[in-house]
Symmetry: C2
Subunit: 242 residues, 2 copies
Amino acid sequence: MTVESNRDAVSNPAALQLSPAESVTRRDAVIDQIKRGIVLGTIKPGEKLTESALSTALGVSRPTVREALNQVAQEGLLIHEPYRRLRVADLDAAAVLDMADVRVALDMQAATDIIADTSGSRMKAIDAVWEVYERNALAEDFLVQHESHLAFHRGIWAASGNSFLMRLWPVTAAHMTIALARDQATRQDPQRAYEMHLNLIEAIHSRDLECIHTALVEHTVDSARELVALMSDGSTDRPIRF
Amino acid sequence: MTVESNRDAVSNPAALQLSPAESVTRRDAVIDQIKRGIVLGTIKPGEKLTESALSTALGVSRPTVREALNQVAQEGLLIHEPYRRLRVADLDAAAVLDMADVRVALDMQAATDIIADTSGSRMKAIDAVWEVYERNALAEDFLVQHESHLAFHRGIWAASGNSFLMRLWPVTAAHMTIALARDQATRQDPQRAYEMHLNLIEAIHSRDLECIHTALVEHTVDSARELVALMSDGSTDRPIRF
DNA sequence: GTGAGGTAGATTGTCAGTCAATATGCGTTT
DNA sequence: AAACGCATATTGACTGACAATCTACCTCAC
């Protein structure tokens, strides 16, 4: 029989490091490129973003770009109104705080599931997540920082074993991306983010839900409040809501 | 300055009633048709579902069908593996219970936000949601029942004013659709579902979070457990997981 | 000069047809 | 009877085109 060629990415730990997303289908590759552009600020909120321009820039056909844009828009990174150009989504202050509340609730659910597991395999998964994060969190490249951050939180949900949380992840990740992309504070102080995450991991290890909740609020809600403060400081431009 | 022209749909109350989803774009119409087919069982789990067959059946081109299928797949109703036919998603027992846990957490967040609102406008929104549900919950048409059920839960999240909850809704609704489509118990006893929802509304009115939590668990987790029991009874076919 | 209206351009929505890449199913061979 | 290879079906992706719709500018009347 032809041995189903194991993707090296699975068996090789080194390949688990955030590689530049070699996607199988071309559409997925385009999706990654678009997201990257948004994270790095190459595509700024409000910038005109046309299908044909992207197709020539990325060297793929318009239908492919179109499918990619639709998917990214569905996740929430782009706003897509019929016959109107796509706009990069932006969050107002209320949306940032709303997300923080919900994320605490979902992280608590994940933590509950992790603690409830008596075999210890889920806690071991947490350790693996932390190990990867520790290696990349303080990288110079902001893109690596950002992806490490996302992978960390995704890893917590994954470790919980709750399949529905994984279903909610893409939308959550998209919104975290929007928020973090403009969070200059975190961008300039990755060390602080690192410590907050370490604090969270230690809280999970304590298996004390109240302790975990405190750490989560400190990490998520407080960060959101700071971001909101920065938002009102900076450009009071267009409060694009969606 | 040019006054931003008000959309008539906003100012016209009659247009706000739930119409049978006259979508503007053809793609959205196709999406509705596909979802309808899944809910009604016209498209059964495991059935072969080809782009070309759908395009001829619905009278639209293959690219349009393709975009619709991609979107539905992203919401989770369809499984989409490269070069494999799309399959209707199915939930295994663990997934049903996972979703129930997370939904309780999210509903609790919504309830917290509703109670925290001192103006009473959010509670008033809940009453409006209930009023609509009450009118349609016991309809003969199962499709109407199902959509009323979804609209009820969506309404609770909407009433909370938490924008991020609304972002999580499409994925949640897709999974509820999968679960409810095979829940023959609810299908045969809409009266019981009605009473559970009434119980939940009364709990919210009590403004007692513990009371609300009890009602939610009774509604969501217990229903999930019953569904799981039915699942193991019936066809132990393919436990398509995703 | 200012505002209303219309027209042209640009962009998206949708379609048809085509070719390549890949999985599925059947027949053949050992 | 089991494994292998080939034909077929289906999806992934592209090109080109046309219709529907929005945007911006320009003209004209007051």
